[in-house]
């Protein structure tokens, strides 16, 4: 992180020319950081194929990914928007409680497991999406299913 090139700017330019009409218009996702973090594993469960496609396109495009991977990016946006819409429709109460807790706790998932468990259960029952941590070792219990969170500040929120 310390080895990034510094970029200093004095001014900021906001370019308001919209994209040309040849590019299909997809509405951007309107959720901010805490709801996105809360729903991220469900977005990953449903949209894994599109996300992997987009990442592969960006890696292979050698720096030109912003212009060449627009199609894959549209697919990612549409899929994530569909997950958020479904979560909003079926599990709004648990979802709101979880992301409000995350917002209060520096966006750290291990402080808010108490609200995460009902959200995971509700989403699994209604939308059939299960949270899986990719790359977790299979011979141990995943961190989000453990009873004791070793870094949490208080027992009440575990």
């Amino acid at each position: 992180m310390a080895s990034r090139q510094p970029r200093f700017n004095q001014q900021v330019l906001i370019d308001t020319t919209p994209l040309p009409d040849s590019i299909p218009k997809v509405p951007e996702i309107g959720s901010s950081s805490a709801p996105l973090l809360s729903a991220s594993y469900f977005i990953g469960a449903r949209c894994k194929a599109y996300n992997d496609d987009y990442m592969l396109c960006k890696t292979e495009s050698n720096g030109k990914g912003e212009t060449e991977c627009l199609k894959e990016g549209r697919k990612v946006t549409r899929c994530a928007a569909s997950v958020l819409e479904d979560v909003n429709k079926s599990c709004l109460q648990q979802f709101r409680e979880h992301w409000e807790c995350l917002d209060n706790n520096n966006q750290q998932l291990w402080q808010c497991r108490r609200w995460e468990r009902p959200l995971n259960k509700c989403v699994f029952d209604n939308l059939n999406l299960e949270k899986k941590i990719p790359g977790a070792p299979t011979n141990e219990i995943p961190v989000h299913l453990r009873k004791r969170q070793i870094f949490a500040h208080s027992i009440a929120t575990q």
């Binding site: 004095q10 951007e28 996702i29 309107g30 959720s31 901010s32 706790n105 520096n106």
Partner: protein
Amino acid sequence: MGVPFEAFIPYAIMLGMFGFSGAALSKLRAMQNGGKRARHSVDTWDRQMMDRDRRLTGFLRGQTDNVRAPAGFELSNPWRIERAFI
């Protein structure tokens, strides 16, 4: 023989002063952060996400869970430019 409670009064004063300043600082931080606890250990990813939150809601710590962004959001990401030295 009774407990010498007068000897504990200075400790109670010190504890009270520390407690009061801690509570006042915590209240000030909460007022600066829109009623929430302050963010710490903010890295570039968090800074970028907080900037996006500001573009979405108008507040650095504001949060929404709308599915669609407000109109004009896709155009409000600024280009950072600097004067060229030649």
